[in-house]
Structures are given as structure tokens and as C-alpha cells.
Amino acid sequence: MFHYFKKIVQHLKAESLNQRREDPFAERPEFVLSSDIDQNLTKFREIFGASNDIIIREIVFGQDPQVRGIIMFVDGLVDKKTINLSIIKPLMYDLRLIRSLGNDKVPMEQIKTALLSVGEIKQTPLINKLVDDCLSGETFFIVDGLAEGFMISTRAWENRGVQEPQTESVVRGPREGFCETLRINTSLLRRKIKNPNFIMENVEIGKRTKTSICIAYLKDIADPVLIDEIKVRLGRINTDSILESGYIEQFIEDAPYSIFPTVANSEKPDVIAAKILEGRAAILVDGTPFVLSVPMVFVESFQTAEDYYIRHTLASLTRIMRYFSYLITTLTPALYIAILTFHQEIIPISLMFTLAASEEQLPLPVFFELLTMMITFDILREAGLRLPRLVGQAISIVGALVMGEAAVAAGIVSDFTVIVIAITAVSSFVVAPQEGSATMLRYIYFLLAGFMGGIGITVGVIGTLIHLASLRSFGTPYLSPLAPFAPCDQKDVFIRAPWWSMGTRPRYMGVRDLRRQGHRLRPHKPQEEHLS
């Protein structure tokens, strides 16, 4: 008890101290280039230290006043060919063509405009800016006697080609997936939505990693309040490293303690484009193929890309089956335990005796037996994921089959338990985005059912619905087309209405322009034309 109070006193003291400790991430002091090139040289050597992939090349150019210049770049991040052909070559050979230079100073303006045949050139005296850009793939070129350095964009590095993403495989629909470079991802999106209103704003987050993050949205559709809210939340992130969009997701999401995700992510450009066209905003993070999309609603995780490409009848049926499989994966173990231990009268007579027979010689009570099977299943799933592709496949198949059969044969587990576990296992993969919440819910309901039977499950379901209804994702209620009931949004929830009838965008996001299509687009036979 005493220890506890001591901790509280320390906590109070630390709190008062906190205001005075200076913020570790304050901006670094600003340095400016000097006109003497040797001084600059020593400054850069001191900044970059001993890393050998940074190349500092001294060149001499100009005819009568021999001028010294320095070119600096990071080997591997730049395209060597452009540096040699369009920077060094013109400086060394072509300079002599511009004879008409009169005065003694080096004609920097003329070099920049007439000589260096490169796309983008920026000028800046600040060393920090120079260093940051140099490390992200630009080459910079300074000249003796001039206090400004040139930034020439020559970014080109090895990156993974545009391949089919592993996580969301699709039977029908585009197969391209995002890759690690931000510029390629934005180009993939730009190819999908060729519209000047499609804005991509860049933000730089992460003191040490300087990851560039791009907020993509449609100016005339997305709700400006949403965009400002995203910027505010991104602005609040004060961390030194952003390596994956998951960091961003956990920093900006609405309910950090909730088991339900409130920020959606996807690897496919067509999915993200569809979400942007619906009025959502996408957040692309450099260095990861997973793009976030906010706001997210619970119903969104039951919609897959393919639902919108195949015909609406089959799409609606598969979507309803997804809802059922989510219920099955969360509730079956709990119901099995509740029925077996609390409400035996539910079981029909014929099933009753085969069940009792199989439960007869088992050592463990049903609760622990099912618990062990559930835990083994989760271990198997994790093992299957973590191991390299070939071995992973083998593990999950071998594990499921052999272990299940052996356990039944050895008489540790009844065959009904294996069936229940198999059903829950299979149906847990159907709703991929909610797999995390499904596993958590399964264990929560299982414990409740173990202790209180049917009542436990009822209380669990009511509690989950309360939690879901109180969640918000960027201002949009989490169960929004269902809980605050919007009748005309129901066309895309349980069933996917045919395309020609999906006239308006979802209303729950406060979208500015609701109309998505014209009216009366139902395809009809030619002779019907003049009848109506």
C-alpha cells in the first residue's frame, strides 16, 4: 500500500516538472551557406560524417575565370545518367560556347536557365533544406563565390514493380496494387481519377525519418471540415519516425482503446479511388503500399471491391453471407458452450444422445476443451502467416488436419468441438478487415457464455452494440447507415443495389455534392424507347 502512495507522489512531482523540460524535438538551429566554397566543404563533411554513400564531387569549369564547384548526391538514390549527361557534361564542355560573358563573375542565372538541361531546379541558401533534399534523392550544386545552392531533382531508385497485392486477391477487377514509393502510388491514383479537383496535399511528418504523407481527396465532393480535421490531427503528431501507415492510423484514430478499427486501409488503387469518389479522404504514406481511408464505418468492412464489379444479384447474396459468417465466427463457440452447459433442453433428442455419448469419456469439461482448441487454432493461424510462403501453407494444413484428428482419436476432444472450431476458423477469414475484432469478440463471448450461459451472450451482444453505437470515426457515427437510420443509404449495406439505381453518394459523411449519376439509367430494350 505504501509503495502505491509513493508512486503517486512521484507522479505528481513529475507532472509539475514536465512544463519546464524543454521539448526534445525543437527545430535545429538554421545555418546559411557562405560564399567561400572551402568553408562550405568542411561544413558538409562535418554534417555528413563518414557515411561513404554520400558522394562529394569537385569540378572546375569556366574558361578565363576558372571557377570551382561542388556536386553532392547520395549514391543509389539518384539517376547517375542524368547527373553525368545533363549536369557535369554541359558545365565542363558547353560552357565555352557561351563566350559573350563579359563580366568577371560566373553567370549563374544563365547557367541555370540555358545550360543545365534538367527538369526541376530550386535555389536555396539554407543548409538544412539542402541536406534534407539531398538525402531524399536530389543532387545539389554549389559554386565558389555564390551563397546559394542549386537543388536538381534526379530521384530514381530501385522499387518493387506494380504487382497484385497478396492481401486482397480478386477474381474480377484490376490486379494492380500500390507499391512502396509515394510518387508511384499517387500516379496510380491520378490515372484513375483524371480530374483537376482531385487534390493531393503533401505533409512531412517524423523528425528523423521525414516521411512525406499525401492527403488525397476530391475538392468538390469531400467535406472541408473532414479535411481540416485530418490536417489538425496529422499536425499533432510529434514523433521522430513514421515507417508505415499503421503509425499514422494509431495516432489519428478516434477510439484508441476500442477493438474495432475506425480507419480503413487497402492495397488496391481502385478500392481507394472508389472511396475517394464516395467523399472519403485517402492518406498515402511514403514507404508502404497500405493506404488509409477515413472516415470508416462498420458496414464498410463487409464490402469488397468485387461486389461492385460482378452482377448485383450474386453480389448481394455474397454480402449477406458475409454478415452471417461474421455472426458465426463470433457466436458459435459461445452458443455451443451455453447450450451444452446451461440450456441442455435446446438440443433435439436425436442429437442429444450422440452428443452425450461423445462427451462421455472426455477428461476436460467442455469449457476448457473448447478453449484449448481455440488457442491452438489461433497459434496455427499465426504460424501459417509468419513462416515463408511454402512452409506456411504446409503448417496450416498439417496442423488443422492432423491435430484435429489425433485429438479426437486420442479422446481428448469430442468431434463436435472440432466441427465448431472448423466453422469458426473458416468463417473468420471471410470478413478480412474485421478479423481482429472477430477474434477478440469470440474470446469475450466465450468467457461470458462460460460463466453465465445464454444471459452472458445477451449481455455481451448488447454491450458490443452499445460500444459500436457510441463510436465515431472522424465525426461519422460508426454504425451510420444503420444506427442513425438513413433509408436511402440502405442500397449499399446488406444488398448491393444495381449500379443504375445507386444514384446518390452516402449521406452520412456530409458530402457536398450528393448526386452521383443521372436519373432513369435502367438499361431497356430498344423498342421500349418510343413507348415511354
Binding site: T341, A357, G453
Partner: protein, 382 residues
């Protein structure tokens, strides 16, 4: 963080507080499928026989091996009152009896004669019993009924349950659920009825036979209806779903069997200035099932003659049931209720004298049957 910790703590307290009070593993229960109540050795005692399913018996039958040992186990216990005999079973079997899966409730004839009242209350009050179980009266000792081998099923009680369902195909016995029996028991005038189970044959080729109906006055067994009278009763109460009526052919050289498809009955009390009479109308649709005479019964004239005879046959059955009921002075048809429904005010005065009015009640019976098909062939082969 503090708030989350507090909420979690409350959750755990709530969970543990609930605890697992009324949970029980499957192997802690002995599942009862049939209950039989008999007269105990001493006059006021009751002998309770219970058929319990033995799970091990099922195990071997699943993976193919013939199960020599029975899949059920009959235990019986004797005591004055019902509930403490039920609890007394712990002397016999280590597991607690679980009546949730009980399908059949059999009373022996002598217990029924003495009165079911005192050994019925438990089956309504306890939360484990369901009112959708069958109720039946055994001709001799109810315990023996559970001893008979189960024929197609693994448990005799389940076999009886299936037979009770099958009775609707020949409408020879009025199968009734506990709820209907209690409804009749509760009403002042209607007489409760229950099917009769008897065992035929001896030694190991005994089999269960369900036929006839037992009639009660309040909760005492007073009489019995034969197969034909039961059918007459079912015509009136409209419970006939299918069955066979045997009539003589129009040419009187053989028999024709007509299958009943659909039967509807309306019972209307008629009260004309004080004296009460009943009108029973039966509409029946049937089909010519088979014939032994050589005559060609296909033409409609012949079919009408057949339906004429069928009307007479149905009428005789109903009259037989009526005569037997009036003999026993037991309103098994629910006439009293019908009068109450139609003339509530007058019923108040007639209610007490109903036991006098009913035996001398005149009932007019109108039957309108229709034979509309002769199956696949028109004329008999030879």
C-alpha cells in the same frame, strides 16, 4: 488510463459475481426420456419408473459395432409423494435426473382409477418439464411398457413418441399432449381423455400397441372407448387427418375401402326457447383406396352410392361414440364449452345441471362426404 482500469475492474467483478451457478456438464446428468407412474406396493405409495438414456449404448452404435448392451436403463423408485420419489432416485443412480428431454408420460390403469390429481402437479410446476409431452394410460403396469424392445429406434420411449405421431394416419386413437389434457382437466364440463397403450405377445417378441381412448371424469378414470368410438369422437372434434373407412360395395358382394384425405367438422349448439340441441356437420373428402368386389365403381353414380354408404358408416361411428359418452356421462366432445362460447349468459344457469342435461341431449348429425378419385385404375383387373 485510470478510467479504463476501473471499468475493467467492474467488468471482472460483474463476471465473477455471476459465477457459474446453474451450469452442469453433460456427463453430470441422467437424461430421462420416459416417465411411468404405477401403483406402489402400499396403497398410498407411488412407483415411479424412469427410462434413462445410456450414452455408452449410442457410442458403439455410431461406429458400426452392434451394441449388445441396451442403450437405455429403467430405474424405479417408490415413495408417498412424487417429488421426493424423484429426488429419491439419487439412491439408484449417481447422476441427477434431467427431465428436459422427457417425451412420454404414462400412467397405469389403477393409478388412473384412483385419480391423477396428486401425481400430476409436479409435471406442470417444475421448470424442467415441458407441456408438449405425450400423455397415455397403460393397460397393465406402466413400467413394463418401457421394457419392450424398441423395434426400429434405440429407445422404447422414442419408439412410443414416433408411434404417437404416426397415429394420425389411421385416426384410431386420440393422441393428446399434456397441455390439451390440462386444458380439459381445468374446464368444468369437458372430460379429459388420453390414449391407451397395451403390450401384445409374450416373451421377447412383445410389442407396443396403441389403440382406444381412456375417458376421465375430473381426474378419475371412468371408462374406455374402442377403436370405432374413438374415431367417432375424432370426427366430432375434427382431429381426423387420414384413415380408412370400410364399406360394403353397392352390389354387396365385397368391401370397398375409402381413404380419408380431409375432414372438417362444425359443432353448433341450437337453443330454442329453453331446450338445447346440437347440430354436428361433417364434411369429408375421400378417395377410393381399394375394393374386393368385381364391380366397376368408376362412374359417378356408383361413386355417389359409395359416398352415401360412407356417410352412413361415419354416422354410425359418431352415434356409437355419443352413446358411449352419454353412458359414461362424460362430455368428451366439449359440448359444454361450445354452449358457453355461443350463449355465455344462458350457460351460467345451465352450468350446474350439465351432468343431467348431457346424457339426454339430442344431437342431429349431418355428414356430407365426397369420393372424388379412384386412384390409378378405373375397373378392377379380373
Amino acid at each position: 488510463m485510470k478510467k479504463a482500469a476501473a471499468v475493467l475492474l467492474c467488468a471482472v467483478i460483474a463476471l465473477v459475481a455471476a459465477g457459474c451457478w446453474s451450469s452442469g456438464e453433460l456427463n453430470e446428468f441422467a437424461f430421462v426420456v420416459g416417465v411411468a407412474v404405477d401403483q406402489g406396493s402400499a396403497p398410498e405409495n407411488i412407483l415411479l419408473t424412469v427410462q434413462v438414456a445410456k450414452p455408452s449404448g449410442f457410442k458403439s452404435s455410431i461406429n458400426g459395432g452392434g451394441s449388445d448392451e441396451e442403450a437405455y436403463w429403467n430405474i424405479s423408485n417408490e415413495g408417498e409423494t412424487l417429488f421426493n420419489t424423484v429426488r429419491g432416485f439419487t439412491h439408484e443412480s449417481g447422476r441427477k435426473l434431467d427431465f428436459q428431454h422427457n417425451t412420454i408420460l404414462i400412467y397405469s390403469r389403477d393409478i388412473a382409477k384412483k385419480g391423477l390429481g396428486d401425481c400430476m402437479d409436479l409435471f406442470i410446476r417444475d421448470h424442467e418439464f415441458r407441456t408438449s409431452t405425450w400423455i397415455a394410460i397403460a393397460n397393465e403396469r406402466a413400467a413394463d411398457v418401457f421394457g419392450v424392445d424398441a423395434g426400429l429406434e434405440t429407445l422404447p420411449a422414442v419408439e412410443i413418441d414416433k408411434m404417437m405421431d404416426a397415429q394420425q394416419y389411421n385416426s384410431q386413437s386420440y393422441t393428446i399432449e399434456l397441455l390439451d389434457f390440462l386444458k380439459r382437466l381445468k374446464s368444468d364440463t369437458t372430460a379429459p381423455i388420453a390414449p391407451i397403450i397395451s403390450i401384445r405377445g409374450e416373451g421377447d417378441d412383445q410389442d407396443i400397441h396403441i389403440s382406444g381412448t381412456a375417458v376421465f371424469h375430473k381426474d378419475r378414470f371412468i371408462g374406455e372407448l374402442g377403436g370405432m368410438e374413438t374415431r367417432g369422437l375424432m370426427w366430432v372434434t375434427g382431429n381426423v387427418k387420414s384413415g380408412i373407412i370400410v364399406v360394403n360395395c353397392p352390389c354387396d358382394q365385397g368391401k370397398a375401402e375409402l381413404e380419408i384425405f380431409q375432414a372438417k367438422s362444425t359443432v353448433t349448439p341450437v337453443l330454442k326457447d329453453g331446450d338445447l340441441s346440437f347440430l354436428i356437420e361433417i364434411k369429408e373428402k375421400g378417395n377410393l383406396g381399394s375394393q374386393t368386389c368385381r364391380e366397376n365403381l368408376a362412374p359417378t353414380k356408383k361413386l355417389e352410392a359409395l359416398s352415401e354408404r360412407q356417410n352412413k358408416a361415419i354416422k354410425t361411428e359418431i352415434e356409437a361414440a355419443l352413446k358411449k359418452a352419454q353412458e359414461l356421462n362424460a362430455d368428451i366432445f366439449g359440448f359444454g364449452e361450445a354452449v358457453y362460447r355461443k350463449y355465455p349468459k344462458q350457460w351460467k344457469s345451465m352450468k350446474d345441471q350439465w351432468s343431467e342435461i348431457f346424457p339426454t341431449l339430442d344431437v342431429e348429425i349431418k355428414v356430407q362426404s365426397e369420393v372424388y378419385g379412384t386412384g390409378n385404375i378405373t375397373k378392377p383387373v379380373n
